[in-house]
Each structure stands twice: as C-alpha cells, then as structure tokens.
C-alpha cells in the first residue's frame, strides 16, 4: 500500500517543522562543519573578510617530507591492515557461513562482542599480552622458542597486531553476509560437475563473495587510515600517524588552520586511495 499524505492543510506545516530537527542536526553538525573545515584550511586567521583571505599557505607548509612520511605511514597501515584482515577473515567467514550448521549466530555474536565492549579497553588489554613480561613472551620463553623476550610493545608490530584483531569483525561480517546469500545449490552443482573443494572455492565461492570482500575492505580501510587510539597506545606515541598528527595540531599546537589543511589533505589522499582500491575491485570483478 502506498504511503499517503495527510489531508489537512494546517498539519502539513506542523508535520514538516517537527520532522526537521533530525535533518537540521546532520546539516548543522556534520555537513556545515565539514565545509567550514575546508574553508579554514584556506585561511590563516578567522577574520570576517571571507573570500579575500583565501590562501594556499597552509597547504604549502604541508609540502614537507615529514608530513608525507606520516601520511604514507597511515596509508600503509590502512592498506596492509585491510589486507591482513582479509587474509584472516576470509577463512573465518567461510567456516561460519558454509561449515557451521547450528549456532551460527552464537559464533557471530562471540566474534563481534569484543568490538562492542569498548575499543579502548580492548586495545589496553593487549598490553598484557605483548609486553616484555606479558603472556606471549612468557609463553614463548617457556616453550623455548626464544631465549630473550621479544620487544613488541611500542613498535609498529604491536600496532599492526592489535589493529588486525580489533578490525577483524568489520571484515568478517560483510564477507559472511555475502556468503550466506550464495545459493547452496551452486556449490553442490560445482561438486557434482567434478570440482574439488579448492576449485569450488576459487571458481564459485570467491567470485560470488567478492561484493562482501569489497565492502569489508572499505569498512576496514577508511577507519584504519584515521585510527588514533591504537597507534598512540601501542606505538609509544613517538611515531606519528595521521590520527595523532591531527590531534597534535588541534589539541596541542591549537593551530586549527594548519590542522584543517592537514586533515583535508589527508582526507583527499584517503579518497584517492579508496578510488584506486575501488577500481581495482572493479577490475577483479571482471
């Protein structure tokens, strides 16, 4: 049945006004600030001569090797984290979607639970594992694989490990979802026609789950780029990533203009990366 209009004239204005706040909120606190951010990246002071003041000075300041290093560090983090997540997540999604008969929802729930119970605490908990005296080192020492504790904490390795496990659900869920939509009869048909499990995987399952892979990839790529907490907590805070750099500009130096320029520039790089990945996926799909 079609949704119908309410007939009375008077209540139409009333309806409209009452429905507006949600939309206004988004515009006022998301889109307007976004444009504002872009605007102040082109000015040096918050004067009222709006258009006269536009300058590229902020962006010129950013043309510096150290900033490029920071951004490329984040790009690498985003890209490789997505890749590692994919490698780890795909078998898990496959297992949950196609091998588990009952209790599927329980497994998914267990997978997602750590993520929902506070990112921060999750990251902090890894301290106990990765520390020089932590569980991992203790275990490896006891078993005899190493002779002296591995220095993992406060290195990029720690960041990558924690990012991997924190973002895992983001990758598993879309792939899982796309796999459950694959018609079981297709897989049976593939076996029936002589394919081994691996062949079915490569020729049938993989192509059909590609949309899930793509969605998961983006779901990890974009937030990973701007990740703030994990690099700071587990990286020792001496090495700058985009997230910590933005925080530095806005909260420590309070140079909002340079900060805005950096944010916009990083955002621009992110969009570029996303576009490249998107095109790659399109090519893969063919």
């Amino acid at each position: 049945m079609k949704k119908n209009k309410f007939e009375s004239e008077g209540s139409k204005e009333h309806s409209f006004a009452v429905a507006l706040p949600a939309v206004l909120w988004q515009i006022l606190f998301l889109y307007l600030p976004l444009f504002f951010l872009i605007y102040i990246s082109f000015v040096k002071t918050l004067d009222y001569a709006v258009l006269k003041n536009l300058t590229l000075q902020n962006y010129k300041t950013l043309i510096d090797f150290s900033y490029f290093k920071i951004i490329s560090r984040s790009v690498a983090l985003a890209f490789f984290n997505s890749l590692f997540c994919l490698i780890l997540a795909y078998p898990i999604a496959y297992f949950l979607a196609l091998r588990v008969k009952r209790l599927k929802n329980l497994f998914i729930f267990l997978l997602v639970l750590p993520f929902w119970t506070n990112f921060l605490v999750q990251a902090y908990a890894w301290f106990f594992i990765l520390d020089n005296n932590g569980i991992l080192n203790k275990f490896l020492l006891k078993v005899g694989i190493i002779s002296s504790p591995l220095h993992i904490l406060n290195t990029p390795l720690a960041i990558y490990i924690v990012m991997l496990f924190c973002y895992l659900p983001f990758m598993v869920l879309p792939i899982y979802s796309s796999m459950t939509k694959i018609d079981k009869y297709l897989l049976e048909a593939s076996s029936d026609l002589g394919a081994t499990s691996w062949q079915t995987l490569g020729h049938v399952t993989l192509p059909l789950s590609l949309s899930g892979i793509r969605n998961g990839f983006f779901l990890v790529l974009i937030p990973s780029f701007g990740e703030f907490v994990i690099p700071i907590l587990l990286g020792g805070g001496k090495v700058m990533y985009v997230g910590s750099m933005i925080s530095y500009f806005f909260l420590e130096t309070k140079n909002v203009f340079l900060g805005a320029a950096f944010t916009c520039f990083s955002g621009f790089i992110l969009i570029l990366i996303a576009l490249i990945v998107y095109i790659l996926f399109r090519k893969l799909g063919k």
Binding site: N4, K5, F6, E7, S8, E9, S11
Partner: protein
C-alpha cells in the same frame, strides 16, 4: 444519516487517470454495493470518501456538507479494512473503544457502548481477548464493531470478507445484512464478487475497468435489465448475439444473419434504438428452454447441436452450436430425478425463449 454525493470526481495515480468525471449519489440508510473487476477504481472511490486519498478534481458531499477537503479524522465516515487493521497492541475492548477514547468519552459510557456493540456482533464473550487469539471471522467482527460504535453516517467496507473461507463468508454476509438493518447506517460495500453484491445490496453500482460507472440500480434491475454488454456479462452470464434492429409500428424484431428474425421488445431508453441500427441481443442462459421436441407458446426459437454438457448438481449447463458457428449456453434446472427428456451430446435441439426475456443493448 446523510446521503453521499460524488460530483465530477477525477483521480490520477502516477500519470494514469483512474477516475474521470465520476458522478454518483448514494442514498442514505441503504446497503449500497460497488461492484467491479480489479483495477476498476472502486477501492479508490472508497478511499476518496474516507479521506485517505484526495481527489484531483470534483467534490464530495455528505448531505449538505462539502467534505472534499475535510481531514480523515473529522469525517463522520468509518472504514472496515480488508485486512482489518486491528491494533495489535490493544485487546478487543481497547480496539473497539479507541474512537470513543479519542473523543474523551466517560469511562462508564465507553464500557456500556463497547459491550452493546460487541453484543450486536456476537462477540460479548471475547471482550478482553488479545487480537492474535481470535480467528479470522472474529477479527473481522471486531473491525466491524470498532467502525460502527461511532455511529457514523456512512460505513465503508473494502472487500471485508475476502480473507474468509466460503462457508464463513456466506454466514457473515447474512450477519452484515442484519446489522445494517438494525443500525440503519448507510453501508458502502466494495467487492469484485457479484454473488456478494447481489446478496447484500439494496442498490448497487457497476464499475468497469476504465473507472466509469456503467449502471446503478437494484440487484434485480441490474441483473434483469443490464444497460450495457459489460454489465450483462459481468453480472451473471449471458448470450450476446449481434443483429440489426427492425422497428415498424409497435413491432420490433432483430435480424440476425444466417439465423433469421427474432421478436424483441424495445428497450426503455429508446434514443439509440433506431430502425436499422446494429444491436446486441442479450438472453440469459436460464431464460432459455432447451428441448429436442418442438414446443408451442414461445416467441423465439433457435436450432442447434449440443456441443458440451456440464453437470452442476442443481443445474446442467449446455453449450449448443448454432448453424453459423456461434455458441449458445443454456442453464436447465435439474427438477426431476428422472427427467422426461434426456439430452445428449450431438443431439439436435431447439432453444426457446420469450421476447420479454430479451434485453437489447447498444454496445
């Protein structure tokens, strides 16, 4: 109790004109049926009266009140929905009492009225049940009670029995008739089922697939004196034969190529009936007498060969092929266990009918 007048109603949906220049008057206090095929716009018409849709042109009057732009909740019109639309989070009592609660009627009066109306629909033992505990028929009656407690000027029913099985439907039809007689509210009943319409209606309107009203009248008028071939075919079934009208003095006859001339009576509206006009002759199958023997006393007779016989228990339907190839079907009531005459396949038969039982149609 007020009558409904629809004047020049035009309604467009997605660029398609569903109703165009529609005029209809529904007298007060009647059980009025709107009959038509799916897509004829009858439900749209109903929704216009209720206020769920707004007409693109034209006006709707309830008595002297122009309700064309009146909001839904201010019209003294109530609807019984096809899927009942009972509020799932309210029990029977709360559903029925809803409109009274809105009007802030006093609690004890509400209770009295609800019990009263539930008695009228025979649900007094289910007052506090939850909706999902009721059967389809019971839910339907709650929907009725809820709409009727308001004592509206008009009650609109949109194919209310569509979801019920045959036996239940027949039972509910009778209950609806009784209810209308008790309440004396105008009922406007929309359906595509002619049996329902013929059963309940005091008067009815037939709509065709183009959203036009073909004919308005009592069930008997519509059945016995259809004014177009659409009505003749849609309500009941009929045999339509094309011919040429020959009218001299007071005698009229239809000339049908290859078959001869047949006596007829001129239709009431004679403007279109001119000498030499092309007409359609409509004879209902039950009005035709079929026999292998020659019979006297009938004004018209046709000869043919029995092509198929279908036994319906109460009646038998014969399809008879004529000399010119067209088919006539005939209903004969099976009045006797051992009929005097047994008609079989390929038998040569005569079909007789009186000229009074013929209806002449223009198109």
């Amino acid at each position: 109790m007020r009558e409904i007048k629809l004047k020049n109603i035009k309604k467009i949906f997605n660029g398609e004109i569903v109703l165009d220049g529609l005029n209809l008057t529904i007298p007060k206090g009647e059980f009025f049926a709107l009959l038509g095929p799916s897509g004829s716009g009858k439900t749209t018409l109903l929704r216009l009266i209720a206020g769920f849709e707004k007409a693109d042109a034209g006006s709707i009057f309830l008595g002297n009140q122009d309700i064309t732009s009146l909001p839904i909740n201010e019209r003294r019109v109530n609807t019984v929905f096809q899927n009942y639309a009972l509020f799932p989070h309210f029990n029977v009592f709360d559903n029925v009492a809803y409109s009274l609660k809105i009007k802030k009627v006093k609690k004890d009066i509400i209770e009295q009225k609800v019990i009263n109306v539930l008695k009228k629909v025979h649900l007094e033992r289910h007052i506090y049940k939850e909706i999902h505990q009721l059967s389809g028929g019971q839910q339907q009656r709650v929907a009725l009670a809820r709409a009727v407690i308001n004592e509206p000027d008009v009650l609109l029913l949109d194919e209310p029995l569509a979801a019920l099985d045959l036996k239940l439907r027949e039972k509910m039809l009778v209950e609806l008739i009784d209810l209308q007689e008790v309440l004396k509210t105008t009922f406007v009943y929309v359906t595509h089922d002619q049996f329902e319409a013929l059963t309940v209606a005091d008067r009815m309107a037939i709509m065709n697939s183009e959203g036009e009203i073909e004919q308005v009248g009592t069930p008997k008028e519509i059945y016995e004196f259809p004014q177009s071939s659409f009505v003749a075919r849609f309500v009941g079934s009929t045999n339509l034969i094309k011919g040429v009208l020959r009218s001299e003095d007071n005698k009229s006859s239809i000339e049908i190529p290859d078959l001869g001339s047949f006596e007829a009576m001129l239709p009431k509206k004679r403007e279109w009936a001119c000498n030499g006009c092309s007409v359609l002759m409509s004879v209902r199958p039950e009005k035709i007498e079929i026999s292998k023997k020659k019979l006297e006393g009938f004004s018209n007779c046709l000869e043919g060969t029995v092509d198929s016989i279908v036994y319906h228990g109460r009646s038998t339907q014969y399809h008879v092929a004529l000399k010119n190839g067209s088919m006539i079907h005939v209903f004969e009531q099976n009045e006797e266990h051992f009929p005097q005459e047994v008609i079989d396949y390929d038998d040569n038969v005569f079909m007789y009918w009186q000229k009074e039982n013929v209806v002449l149609l223009e198109k």
